[in-house]
C-alpha cells in the first residue's frame, strides 16, 4: 500500500504516524534535531529556513503545551505562525474539518500542524490538502503523536546511545494512548530489541502483542532490568469506572515508586510525556529524582519539531 507520508521520491512529505516510516527517515529527523539543539543556545535563536512560510497550528482539541512547542519551533525557523483553536462549537455549526482546512489553504498556509480528538483526522487532512501543503500530526485520537514519539527517541538516544541494546518498558494506559503507539513503533523501527508494556488488561488494546511488544501485568516482573521506563498519563475520567476501580489502587499496582524503580537497571532513565498526575501514575520522588529525564524531554521537543518542520518544508516535489 502506498504510504501517504512519503512523496514519490521517498522523502517525508507529511508526518502522520511513526508506523511505516523507514529507520533512515527517523534517524534523519533525530540527527537534524541534534543540529538544532545548538540553535536554541545561541545569541540569536533563529535560523532563516522557513522564512516567508506560514505554519498554521489547527487545534481541534485544546492543548496549550503542545501548541506552544510547535509555535516556538516554527518561529525559530523564521516561519509566520497562525494559531487556530477550532472549538467544538464552531464545528457543530456545520463547518467540517475539511472546510476549515480549505479556508486556511486559501490564505496560503504552507504547513498544517493538526491536533484532533479523532483517530485518522490527520490522514484525512493530508489526503485532502493541496500538493504543496505539508501536514504534521500533533496528536489524533488514540492513534498517533509522532513528534512526541520522536522526542522520546531523541531523549533516549542522548542518554542511551546504543539503541540496539536496550530494554524499554512502557507503563500505563496503552489502550487510549496515542503516545504509546508512537513510542512502540519508533522503538521497534529503531531496532530496540525488547519493548515491554505493563498495564492491567482493561488498559491494553486487543492483540497489542502484534505491535511487537511483550505484555506484562505485574510491575515487578516488567521493570526487571529495564534501561528505560516510559510512563503514560492516565486521564482523570478513566481513574474510576469500569476500567479501573480507583486512582489509589492504580497507583498501588501500576504507579512508579522509588522502590519499584529499584528493580530496573541502576542507571535506568524515567520518562513521562506530561502533564503528570503525581501520586497516580508516578510518585513525586521519582518524577523529580536523579533518574528522571522528564524536563530534558520538554527541551528536546522544540529541536525535534524544528527538525520535522524543516525536513517536511524541504520535501516539495520538483
Amino acid at each position: 500500500m502506498h504510504n501517504p507520508q512519503l512523496n514519490k521520491d521517498g522523502k517525508l512529505k507529511h508526518l502522520l504516524s511513526i508506523e511505516g516510516l523507514p529507520r533512515a527517515i527517523l534517524n534523519q529527523i533525530l540527527d537534524t534535531a541534534e543540529s538544532f539543539t545548538g540553535v536554541s543556545e545561541r545569541e540569536v535563536k533563529k535560523v532563516p529556513l522557513l522564512r516567508g512560510k506560514t505554519v498554521c497550528n489547527i487545534f481541534f482539541e485544546n492543548s496549550t503545551r503542545t501548541r506552544t512547542t510547535f509555535e516556538i519551533a516554527a518561529k525559530r525557523l523564521s516561519a509566520d505562525v497562525l494559531n487556530l483553536n477550532v472549538s467544538t462549537s464552531s464545528q457543530s455549526k456545520g463547518e467540517t474539518i475539511l472546510d476549515t482546512v480549505d479556508n486556511l489553504t486559501a490564505m496560503h498556509a504552507d504547513m498544517f500542524v493538526v491536533r484532533h480528538s479523532q483517530s485518522g483526522a490527520a490522514h484525512l487532512i493530508a489526503r485532502h490538502v493541496a500538493p504543496h501543503v505539508h501536514v504534521v500530526n500533533a496528536g489524533d485520537g488514540r492513534h498517533a503523536h509522532p513528534t512526541q514519539g520522536l522526542l522520546d527517541m531523541f531523549t533516549i538516544r542522548r542518554y542511551k546511545p546504543d539503541m540496539h541494546n536496550l530494554r524499554v518498558a512502557i507503563i500505563g494506559d496503552v489502550l487510549h494512548s496515542r503516545v504509546a503507539r508512537s513510542e512502540i513503533h519508533a522503538l521497534t523501527t529503531l531496532g530496540v530489541p525488547e519493548v515491554r508494556v505493563i498495564a492491567p488488561k482493561t488498559l491494553l488494546p486487543q492483540d497489542v502483542e502484534k505491535l511487537g511488544v511483550q505484555v506484562y501485568h505485574d510491575m515487578r516482573a516488567g521493570l526487571k532490568d529495564v534501561d528505560v521506563v516510559m510512563m503514560l498519563r492516565l486521564q482523570n475520567e478513566r481513574m474510576s469506572g469500569s476500567l479501573l476501580p480507583s486512582a489509589q489502587e492504580y497507583f498501588k499496582c501500576f504507579g512508579l515508586t522509588q522502590e519499584k524503580l529499584a528493580l530496573a537497571k541502576p542507571d535506568a532513565i524515567v520518562m513521562h510525556p506530561g502533564p503528570m498526575n503525581r501520586g497516580v501514575e508516578i510518585d513525586s520522588a521519582v518524577a523529580d529524582g536523579m533518574q528522571s529525564v522528564i524536563l530534558p524531554q520538554v527541551t528536546y521537543g522544540i529541536a525535534v519539531r524544528m527538525a520535522v518542520m524543516s525536513i517536511l518544508a524541504g520535501s516539495n516535489d520538483a
Binding site: 533512515a24 534523519q28 537534524t32 543540529s35 545548538g38 545569541e43 535560523v47 532563516p48 518544508a313
Partner: protein
Amino acid sequence: MTTPLPEAEQLLTRLAEQLRPVITPATALVGIHSGGVWIMQRLLKLLDMPLAHGTLDVSFYRDDFNQRGLKPTTRPSQIPFEVEARHIILIDDVFYTGRTIRAAMNELFDYGRPANISLAVLVNRGGRELPIAPQFSACELPLPADKNLQLLQHEDGRFYLRLDDQA
C-alpha cells in the same frame, strides 16, 4: 582534462604560509562542513598555535532550501568562543559561487558581531555569483560550470583533489 590537478597537500602548506603572517591572538578559524573543517584541523596543526576555532554547517542558511530541501545529514555548528569583536578566518575547500560563504556569514552573525571576516580556500575555481571573493587562496583554477571539483581524503588522511563531470 589533460593538465594534472594541483597537489592538495602542497596547496595546504602554501595556504598555511599565506595565513601565518595575519594571525593574531584575536584570530579564530572557522571551518565550513565538511571540506573546510578538514582543512581547518590540518591548518591548526601546521600553524601550531593555540587558536580559537569552530565549525559551521550552513544547511539551515542555504538559499537553495526551497529547491533542494535539507541535506540528509546535517551536523551541529559549533562556535565555542565569543564571536563579538573577533577576527574570523572562514575556511572552505573550494570557492565557487560564493553562496555557501554568504550562508556562513549569516550564520556567524547570529552568534555575534565579529570585528572582521576573511576567507581562505584551497582552490578558487572562479564563477562567483555574489560580490564575495577569497582573500587567501592557495591556487586559482578556473573551471567550466559542467565540472565538479571535490576535496577528498586518502585512507592515510592525505588530501587529494578530484575533478568530475557535473551529474
